[in-house]
């Protein structure tokens, strides 16, 4: 099938995009309705990959996108999401309930101030722009839904499709005030870019459920230590999926701290289609070789949108190359065009799912 062939109206689709830095999931919810989860850019066209793909399929972004979900605010999940919100005029905007805190809005204001000093934006400044768009359009400077454990974000009676968030947990939301307060600037500190929060326990996990089939989107949720936070809270939750998922967007780029054995045994159909995006920035690119082995022990259907996670950069000028070699150790970059994994399955289950690989996506196991 060609990349530009649209899904059937009675098909569920999970399309995952990622170049090595950034991640975006595009989901067909049936009946021509779409959900976009997070965003990354196609640097070859300088446009959010989700918009490019939906246009390729012939979808009308303005009317066919029902939900835009931002799982958390990190740079690699939010690039270009403001542009999506601007074009998807009828979509409702969803973000983590852990951000429904006064401290988060202080942080947004601080980032706006700090952003004047920095050329390249951070996730939080993109967030500010989104809320400004919502204010102009709907007169509400806030998301339509704050996702938390058990929140129903979308349901369609005709198709029987439901989207429900499984995280963040109540305890995570309660602790978010402290987590966010630690990120706020302090008197006398230098104005600079707001560092990304760690760990990723504020992230949204989504379960997309059709009558006979379900998909699990792991966001960047990490396991954590507390049984009431992170993945440990999801697997013990009363909002636990009653139908095991056949497709899984692997959490946190396949890192060991985003994985629990219970995810594979309790939430996923065996063997699931496990799809991931690599992460080429940071000191250690993800997934590490050990992460691939660990996941491969749980499924024989492990795929990555791009592989290896990083590339060696090329330079036109020899002088630049020599200097970079001398000064920047382990210099690395990521692909300009995101790879694409596409999983399609009938809403009614029935036939086997189909998985397609485009633009450099690779099978890992």
């Amino acid at each position: 099938m060609k990349q530009s062939d649209p899904p059937k109206l009675d098909e569920l689709e999970l399309s995952l995009f990622g170049p090595g830095f950034g991640e975006c999931v595009v989901v067909h919810l049936g009946a021509g309705k779409w959900m976009i989860v997070d965003s990354c850019l196609d640097r070859t066209i300088k446009r959010p990959v989700a918009l490019r793909y939906l246009e390729q399929l012939g979808a009308n972004v303005a009317t066919d996108v029902s939900r835009i979900v931002v799982t958390h605010w990190h740079d690699d999940h939010i690039q270009g999401v403001a542009a999506i919100v601007r074009e998807a005029r009828e979509a409702k905007f969803v973000c983590s309930g852990a951000l429904q805190k006064e401290e988060f809005f202080v942080l947004l204001n601080a980032v706006r101030e700090g952003g004047k000093l920095v050329g390249h934006s951070s996730g939080t400044s993109e967030f500010s722009e989104i809320l400004d768009i919502l204010n102009d359009r709907f007169g509400r400077k806030s998301p339509h839904h704050w996702a938390s454990e058990g929140t129903v974000l979308f349901e369609e009676a005709d198709t029987g499709v439901e989207v429900r968030s499984l995280s963040p947990s109540a305890e995570t939301i309660a602790h978010a005030t402290t987590t966010l307060a630690n990120l706020l600037p302090k008197h006398g500190s230098l104005i600079r870019r707001v560092p990304e929060s760690s760990p990723n326990d504020l992230s949204v996990v989504l379960r997309i459920r059709a009558p006979k089939v379900s998909l699990l989107l792991g966001g960047d949720l990490e396991t954590g230590v507390s049984p009431h936070r992170g993945w440990r809270a999801v697997v013990t939750s009363s909002a636990h999926p009653d139908l095991k998922s056949i497709g899984f967007k692997v959490s946190h780029h396949g890192s060991h701290n985003g994985d629990l054995p219970d995810i594979w045994t309790q939430l996923l159909h065996s063997p699931p289609f496990a799809l991931l995006t690599p992460y080429g920035r940071g000191r250690k690119p993800l997934p590490a070789p050990g992460d691939v082995s660990r996941m491969a022990a749980n499924t024989r259907n492990l795929f990555s949108t791009a592989w290896p996670p990083t590339l060696k950069p090329k330079f036109r000028d020899k002088g630049v190359k020599r200097t970079v070699d001398e000064v920047l150790s382990n210099a690395r970059t990521t692909r300009a065009k995101p790879g694409h994994l596409r999983l399609r399955v009938p809403l009614s289950g029935g036939s086997n799912p189909s998985l397609e690989l485009f633009d450099g996506a690779t099978r890992l196991a």
Partner: protein
């Protein structure tokens, strides 16, 4: 032809006077310039600059406004040895953000400021590459600039340069923090009201 008063090599110490040096900085030295054509016959002096004492220059470069128009140059400079000014050719410039800091190096994400389409880079940079004055600024979220280029000296020597300079951001003041907190409080109240509807 440059519209200027004095043509002089920036590095000429024998010129001494502050006025002359500052003007020289604003003037592009060009071998093709016909220096003599700038002078009126009445004021022209054919002198060797190295023979001219500082005091004489000071005196002659600050003439009486009643007699000499301010934009007329005062010295004839012998144009026998053209001097190429020092120049910096920038090959690449990045804006970097520190993402992680370890004992002796930091990890940085770099975006090109010279080529819009250039690949973003990530890598580790040793503290040794950063000046002592800038090292206290190496913190997560700190912004810096990295320039790679060629430094071409007046003598024609070419040297590859790499300079990393951290941005000295202003500090958060109590007043500024209070202002963003107050604005956030109002914003959050709107959010709560939206939720209640």
């Amino acid at each position: 032809m440059a519209d200027s008063m004095v043509l002089a090599p920036e590095t000429s110490s024998t010129w001494g006077g502050v006025v002359a040096r500052n003007l020289a900085r604003e003037t592009k030295w060009d071998e093709s310039d016909d220096v003599g054509a700038l002078f009126s016959p009445r004021q022209s002096k054919d002198v060797e600059t190295s023979e001219l004492p500082n005091a004489a220059i000071e005196q002659s470069t600050i003439p009486s406004a009643a007699h000499i128009p301010p934009r007329v140059p005062l010295l004839r400079v012998r144009n026998s040895t053209p001097i190429i000014p020092r120049s910096i050719e920038i090959l690449q410039q990045w804006e970097g953000v520190v993402s992680e800091v370890s004992d002796d190096e930091f990890t940085a994400d770099l975006n090109s400021l010279t080529e819009e389409d250039a690949q973003p880079l990530t890598g580790e940079i040793s503290f040794d590459e950063v000046s002592d004055a800038d090292r206290p600024l190496i913190q997560g979220g700190a912004v810096f600039y990295w320039v790679i280029g060629y430094d071409k000296s007046p003598a024609g020597q070419v040297r590859r340069i790499s300079e990393i300079r951290f941005r000295r951001s202003p500090e958060w003041t109590g007043r500024k923090l209070d202002a963003i907190r107050e604005e956030a409080r109002e914003w959050f109240q709107q959010v709560i009201q939206n939720e209640a509807k």
